[in-house]
Symmetry: C2
Subunit: 140 residues, 2 copies
DNA sequence: AACGAAATGTTATTTCATTACTCTATCGGA
DNA sequence: TCCGATAGAGTAATGAAATAACATTTCGTT
Protein backbone atom coordinates (compact mmCIF):
# COMPACT_ATOMS: atom_id res chain seq x y z
CA UNK A 1 0.00 0.00 0.00
CA UNK A 2 1.30 3.41 -0.92
CA UNK A 3 2.72 5.52 1.86
CA UNK A 4 4.06 9.01 1.81
CA UNK A 5 7.53 8.02 0.75
CA UNK A 6 6.46 6.51 -2.48
CA UNK A 7 4.46 9.37 -3.76
CA UNK A 8 5.50 10.42 -7.22
CA UNK A 9 7.09 13.73 -8.01
CA UNK A 10 3.85 15.46 -8.98
CA UNK A 11 2.02 14.07 -6.02
CA UNK A 12 4.76 15.23 -3.71
CA UNK A 13 4.82 18.71 -5.18
CA UNK A 14 1.08 19.07 -4.78
CA UNK A 15 1.02 17.69 -1.27
CA UNK A 16 3.84 19.96 -0.20
CA UNK A 17 2.01 23.03 -1.41
CA UNK A 18 -1.17 21.96 0.29
CA UNK A 19 0.66 21.30 3.52
CA UNK A 20 2.34 24.71 3.50
CA UNK A 21 -0.89 26.54 2.72
CA UNK A 22 -2.91 27.77 5.67
CA UNK A 23 -6.14 27.81 3.70
CA UNK A 24 -7.75 25.67 1.02
CA UNK A 25 -6.24 25.93 -2.45
CA UNK A 26 -7.95 25.32 -5.75
CA UNK A 27 -6.49 23.02 -8.36
CA UNK A 28 -5.70 26.02 -10.52
CA UNK A 29 -4.13 27.82 -7.60
CA UNK A 30 -1.86 24.84 -7.14
CA UNK A 31 -1.10 24.79 -10.82
CA UNK A 32 -0.06 28.43 -10.73
CA UNK A 33 2.27 27.73 -7.85
CA UNK A 34 3.74 24.74 -9.61
CA UNK A 35 4.41 26.21 -13.02
CA UNK A 36 7.91 27.04 -11.89
CA UNK A 37 8.36 23.36 -11.11
CA UNK A 38 7.46 22.50 -14.64
CA UNK A 39 3.78 21.66 -14.40
CA UNK A 40 1.72 23.02 -17.25
CA UNK A 41 -1.69 21.47 -17.42
CA UNK A 42 -4.63 21.20 -15.00
CA UNK A 43 -4.73 17.49 -15.47
CA UNK A 44 -1.35 17.02 -13.91
CA UNK A 45 -2.66 18.62 -10.77
CA UNK A 46 -6.01 16.90 -10.81
CA UNK A 47 -4.41 13.51 -11.16
CA UNK A 48 -2.12 14.12 -8.26
CA UNK A 49 -5.04 15.39 -6.19
CA UNK A 50 -7.14 12.36 -7.01
CA UNK A 51 -4.42 10.11 -5.76
CA UNK A 52 -3.80 12.11 -2.61
CA UNK A 53 -7.50 12.13 -1.81
CA UNK A 54 -7.70 8.42 -2.47
CA UNK A 55 -4.82 7.88 -0.05
CA UNK A 56 -6.46 10.09 2.53
CA UNK A 57 -3.61 12.58 2.50
CA UNK A 58 -5.78 15.39 1.20
CA UNK A 59 -9.43 16.33 1.24
CA UNK A 60 -11.64 18.03 -1.25
CA UNK A 61 -13.93 20.74 0.07
CA UNK A 62 -17.00 20.51 -2.08
CA UNK A 63 -18.42 23.83 -1.10
CA UNK A 64 -15.27 25.66 -2.17
CA UNK A 65 -14.04 23.52 -5.04
CA UNK A 66 -10.72 23.50 -3.29
CA UNK A 67 -8.41 21.18 -1.43
CA UNK A 68 -6.62 20.93 1.92
CA UNK A 69 -3.96 18.63 3.25
CA UNK A 70 -5.33 16.14 5.74
CA UNK A 71 -4.73 17.44 9.24
CA UNK A 72 -4.01 13.93 10.47
CA UNK A 73 -1.63 12.97 7.74
CA UNK A 74 1.07 12.15 10.26
CA UNK A 75 -1.11 9.29 11.45
CA UNK A 76 -0.89 7.64 8.08
CA UNK A 77 1.48 4.75 7.79
CA UNK A 78 2.15 2.13 5.24
CA UNK A 79 1.08 -0.65 7.55
CA UNK A 80 -2.28 0.64 8.63
CA UNK A 81 -5.63 0.95 6.96
CA UNK A 82 -6.56 4.58 6.81
CA UNK A 83 -8.87 7.38 7.91
CA UNK A 84 -11.60 6.21 10.15
CA UNK A 85 -15.15 7.33 9.62
CA UNK A 86 -16.52 10.54 8.28
CA UNK A 87 -14.59 13.76 8.35
CA UNK A 88 -16.29 17.08 8.91
CA UNK A 89 -14.87 20.51 8.19
CA UNK A 90 -15.36 23.90 9.77
CA UNK A 91 -14.32 26.56 7.30
CA UNK A 92 -13.78 30.12 8.49
CA UNK A 93 -15.01 32.49 5.84
CA UNK A 94 -13.01 35.32 7.34
CA UNK A 95 -9.50 33.92 7.69
CA UNK A 96 -9.83 30.86 5.50
CA UNK A 97 -8.65 28.41 8.05
CA UNK A 98 -10.15 24.94 8.06
CA UNK A 99 -10.65 22.79 11.10
CA UNK A 100 -11.05 19.09 10.46
CA UNK A 101 -12.96 17.04 12.98
CA UNK A 102 -14.78 13.81 13.68
CA UNK A 103 -17.90 13.73 15.75
CA UNK A 104 -19.33 10.51 16.96
CA UNK A 105 -22.84 11.81 17.55
CA UNK A 106 -23.01 13.18 14.03
CA UNK A 107 -21.74 9.97 12.51
CA UNK A 108 -24.19 7.94 14.56
CA UNK A 109 -27.06 10.20 13.59
CA UNK A 110 -26.33 9.90 9.90
CA UNK A 111 -25.79 6.16 10.16
CA UNK A 112 -29.10 5.78 11.96
CA UNK A 113 -30.94 7.78 9.34
CA UNK A 114 -29.30 5.85 6.53
CA UNK A 115 -30.16 2.56 8.18
CA UNK A 116 -33.79 3.52 8.55
CA UNK A 117 -34.02 4.78 4.98
CA UNK A 118 -32.17 1.85 3.47
CA UNK A 119 -29.62 4.22 2.03
CA UNK A 120 -26.03 3.01 1.61
CA UNK A 121 -23.62 5.91 1.80
CA UNK A 122 -20.43 5.75 -0.21
CA UNK A 123 -19.10 9.21 0.52
CA UNK A 124 -20.23 11.78 3.03
CA UNK A 125 -19.66 15.51 2.93
CA UNK A 126 -20.07 17.69 6.00
CA UNK A 127 -18.94 21.28 5.76
CA UNK A 128 -19.72 24.18 8.07
CA UNK A 129 -18.97 27.62 6.76
CA UNK A 130 -18.91 30.44 9.24
CA UNK A 131 -16.59 32.28 11.56
CA UNK A 132 -13.91 30.77 13.75
CA UNK A 133 -13.34 31.68 17.36
CA UNK A 134 -10.45 34.05 16.67
CA UNK A 135 -12.18 35.96 13.92
CA UNK A 136 -15.29 36.13 16.01
CA UNK A 137 -13.30 37.76 18.79
CA UNK A 138 -11.60 40.24 16.48
CA UNK A 139 -14.88 41.25 14.90
CA UNK A 140 -16.50 41.99 18.24
CA UNK B 1 -41.88 38.50 2.83
CA UNK B 2 -41.90 36.94 -0.59
CA UNK B 3 -44.11 33.91 -1.08
CA UNK B 4 -44.56 31.71 -4.10
CA UNK B 5 -47.20 33.83 -5.72
CA UNK B 6 -44.95 36.80 -6.12
CA UNK B 7 -42.12 35.09 -7.80
CA UNK B 8 -41.13 36.72 -11.04
CA UNK B 9 -41.51 35.08 -14.42
CA UNK B 10 -37.94 33.78 -14.56
CA UNK B 11 -38.05 32.55 -11.01
CA UNK B 12 -41.30 30.73 -11.70
CA UNK B 13 -39.95 29.10 -14.85
CA UNK B 14 -36.88 27.86 -13.04
CA UNK B 15 -38.77 26.59 -10.03
CA UNK B 16 -41.27 24.77 -12.23
CA UNK B 17 -38.53 22.92 -14.02
CA UNK B 18 -36.83 22.01 -10.80
CA UNK B 19 -40.07 20.78 -9.36
CA UNK B 20 -40.83 18.58 -12.36
CA UNK B 21 -37.33 17.12 -12.44
CA UNK B 22 -36.78 13.92 -10.52
CA UNK B 23 -33.06 14.54 -10.13
CA UNK B 24 -30.82 17.52 -9.58
CA UNK B 25 -30.38 19.85 -12.53
CA UNK B 26 -27.43 22.09 -13.27
CA UNK B 27 -27.86 25.76 -14.07
CA UNK B 28 -26.94 25.11 -17.67
CA UNK B 29 -29.33 22.19 -17.82
CA UNK B 30 -32.09 24.53 -16.73
CA UNK B 31 -30.98 27.09 -19.26
CA UNK B 32 -31.20 24.53 -22.04
CA UNK B 33 -34.71 23.65 -21.00
CA UNK B 34 -35.71 27.27 -20.84
CA UNK B 35 -34.37 28.51 -24.15
CA UNK B 36 -37.74 27.85 -25.71
CA UNK B 37 -39.22 30.15 -23.09
CA UNK B 38 -36.92 32.89 -24.19
CA UNK B 39 -34.06 32.65 -21.74
CA UNK B 40 -30.67 33.13 -23.33
CA UNK B 41 -27.97 33.70 -20.77
CA UNK B 42 -26.66 31.78 -17.75
CA UNK B 43 -27.09 34.82 -15.60
CA UNK B 44 -30.83 34.79 -15.98
CA UNK B 45 -30.88 31.32 -14.51
CA UNK B 46 -28.32 31.97 -11.81
CA UNK B 47 -30.21 35.03 -10.62
CA UNK B 48 -33.43 33.11 -10.38
CA UNK B 49 -31.67 30.30 -8.56
CA UNK B 50 -30.06 32.68 -6.09
CA UNK B 51 -33.43 34.05 -5.20
CA UNK B 52 -35.10 30.67 -4.91
CA UNK B 53 -32.32 29.42 -2.66
CA UNK B 54 -32.56 32.56 -0.57
CA UNK B 55 -36.29 31.96 -0.19
CA UNK B 56 -35.70 28.35 0.73
CA UNK B 57 -37.64 27.08 -2.28
CA UNK B 58 -34.62 25.41 -3.81
CA UNK B 59 -31.34 23.98 -2.61
CA UNK B 60 -27.90 23.89 -4.10
CA UNK B 61 -26.09 20.56 -3.90
CA UNK B 62 -22.47 21.48 -3.48
CA UNK B 63 -21.11 18.09 -4.34
CA UNK B 64 -22.87 18.07 -7.70
CA UNK B 65 -22.92 21.74 -8.64
CA UNK B 66 -26.61 21.30 -9.25
CA UNK B 67 -29.95 22.28 -7.81
CA UNK B 68 -33.14 20.68 -6.53
CA UNK B 69 -36.53 22.03 -5.55
CA UNK B 70 -37.09 22.03 -1.82
CA UNK B 71 -39.05 18.94 -0.87
CA UNK B 72 -40.93 20.88 1.77
CA UNK B 73 -41.79 23.85 -0.34
CA UNK B 74 -45.49 23.38 0.37
CA UNK B 75 -44.78 24.29 3.95
CA UNK B 76 -43.65 27.73 2.94
CA UNK B 77 -46.13 30.51 3.53
CA UNK B 78 -45.97 34.24 3.36
CA UNK B 79 -46.72 34.61 7.03
CA UNK B 80 -44.13 32.31 8.48
CA UNK B 81 -40.42 32.51 8.91
CA UNK B 82 -38.84 29.74 6.92
CA UNK B 83 -36.91 26.50 6.92
CA UNK B 84 -35.84 25.48 10.37
CA UNK B 85 -32.39 24.14 10.98
CA UNK B 86 -30.00 22.30 8.78
CA UNK B 87 -31.03 20.27 5.79
CA UNK B 88 -29.20 17.11 4.83
CA UNK B 89 -29.35 15.31 1.49
CA UNK B 90 -29.03 11.70 0.49
CA UNK B 91 -28.15 11.52 -3.18
CA UNK B 92 -28.47 8.24 -5.03
CA UNK B 93 -25.62 7.95 -7.51
CA UNK B 94 -27.48 5.29 -9.43
CA UNK B 95 -30.89 6.78 -10.08
CA UNK B 96 -30.16 10.40 -9.22
CA UNK B 97 -32.94 10.81 -6.74
CA UNK B 98 -32.39 13.05 -3.77
CA UNK B 99 -33.90 12.60 -0.37
CA UNK B 100 -33.98 15.66 1.84
CA UNK B 101 -34.04 15.19 5.58
CA UNK B 102 -33.51 16.77 8.95
CA UNK B 103 -31.94 14.87 11.78
CA UNK B 104 -32.00 16.18 15.27
CA UNK B 105 -29.06 14.13 16.53
CA UNK B 106 -26.89 15.34 13.69
CA UNK B 107 -27.85 18.96 14.25
CA UNK B 108 -27.21 18.64 17.95
CA UNK B 109 -23.88 17.00 17.38
CA UNK B 110 -22.70 19.75 15.06
CA UNK B 111 -24.03 22.46 17.34
CA UNK B 112 -22.22 20.92 20.27
CA UNK B 113 -18.97 20.74 18.40
CA UNK B 114 -19.34 24.32 17.18
CA UNK B 115 -20.09 25.51 20.68
CA UNK B 116 -17.03 23.82 22.10
CA UNK B 117 -14.80 25.13 19.33
CA UNK B 118 -16.20 28.63 19.40
CA UNK B 119 -17.14 28.34 15.77
CA UNK B 120 -20.21 30.21 14.51
CA UNK B 121 -21.76 28.43 11.55
CA UNK B 122 -23.48 30.49 8.89
CA UNK B 123 -24.25 27.75 6.42
CA UNK B 124 -24.03 23.99 6.78
CA UNK B 125 -23.70 21.44 4.02
CA UNK B 126 -24.46 17.76 4.61
CA UNK B 127 -24.57 15.49 1.60
CA UNK B 128 -24.46 11.71 1.49
CA UNK B 129 -23.74 10.16 -1.86
CA UNK B 130 -24.46 6.48 -2.25
CA UNK B 131 -27.19 4.09 -3.23
CA UNK B 132 -30.84 4.34 -2.33
CA UNK B 133 -32.94 1.47 -1.08
CA UNK B 134 -34.56 0.74 -4.45
CA UNK B 135 -31.34 0.75 -6.41
CA UNK B 136 -29.70 -1.35 -3.75
CA UNK B 137 -32.45 -3.95 -4.16
CA UNK B 138 -32.22 -3.95 -7.95
CA UNK B 139 -28.46 -4.33 -7.88
CA UNK B 140 -28.60 -7.37 -5.62
C1' DA C 1 14.62 -8.35 -22.46
C1' DA C 2 9.60 -8.18 -22.54
C1' DC C 3 5.55 -7.01 -20.39
C1' DG C 4 2.00 -4.56 -17.98
C1' DA C 5 0.53 -1.15 -14.74
C1' DA C 6 0.74 3.41 -13.28
C1' DA C 7 2.07 7.86 -14.01
C1' DT C 8 3.04 11.68 -17.37
C1' DG C 9 2.57 15.18 -20.78
C1' DT C 10 -0.12 17.94 -24.18
C1' DT C 11 -4.00 19.86 -26.62
C1' DA C 12 -8.55 20.80 -26.88
C1' DT C 13 -12.98 21.02 -25.05
C1' DT C 14 -16.74 21.07 -21.86
C1' DT C 15 -19.02 22.63 -17.86
C1' DC C 16 -19.89 25.89 -14.20
C1' DA C 17 -20.06 30.74 -12.57
C1' DT C 18 -19.28 35.71 -12.47
C1' DT C 19 -18.18 40.65 -13.95
C1' DA C 20 -19.48 44.71 -16.14
C1' DC C 21 -22.73 47.45 -18.18
C1' DT C 22 -27.36 48.91 -19.63
C1' DC C 23 -32.26 49.35 -19.39
C1' DT C 24 -36.87 49.28 -17.44
C1' DA C 25 -40.63 48.87 -14.11
C1' DT C 26 -42.37 49.71 -9.65
C1' DC C 27 -43.18 51.91 -5.41
C1' DG C 28 -42.84 55.17 -1.55
C1' DG C 29 -41.97 59.40 -0.08
C1' DA C 30 -40.91 64.70 -0.48
C1' DT D 1 -46.09 64.93 -9.63
C1' DC D 2 -41.51 64.29 -9.52
C1' DC D 3 -37.72 62.03 -7.66
C1' DG D 4 -34.88 58.42 -6.48
C1' DA D 5 -34.21 53.98 -4.56
C1' DT D 6 -34.62 49.11 -5.34
C1' DA D 7 -35.14 44.97 -7.86
C1' DG D 8 -35.40 42.55 -11.79
C1' DA D 9 -34.09 41.83 -16.58
C1' DG D 10 -31.05 41.41 -20.93
C1' DT D 11 -26.48 40.99 -23.27
C1' DA D 12 -21.68 40.20 -24.00
C1' DA D 13 -17.54 38.82 -22.48
C1' DT D 14 -14.68 36.44 -19.52
C1' DG D 15 -12.98 33.67 -15.76
C1' DA D 16 -12.63 29.34 -13.19
C1' DA D 17 -13.18 24.37 -12.61
C1' DA D 18 -12.98 19.85 -14.63
C1' DT D 19 -12.62 16.29 -18.16
C1' DA D 20 -11.80 13.89 -22.85
C1' DA D 21 -8.74 11.92 -25.91
C1' DC D 22 -4.46 10.49 -27.20
C1' DA D 23 0.54 9.69 -27.18
C1' DT D 24 4.55 8.65 -24.31
C1' DT D 25 7.47 7.41 -20.32
C1' DT D 26 8.84 5.05 -16.08
C1' DC D 27 9.56 1.20 -13.47
C1' DG D 28 8.99 -3.04 -11.08
C1' DT D 29 8.18 -7.92 -12.26
C1' DT D 30 8.64 -12.01 -14.69
Amino acid sequence: MAARHDLTRNQTLVLDRLTRADAPVSAYGLLDQLREEGLRAPLQVYRALDKLVELGLAHRLESLNAFVACAHAHEHRADEGHATGTTAFAICETCGRVDEFHDHAVEEGLAAWAGAAGFTPRLTTIELRGRCKECQAKAA
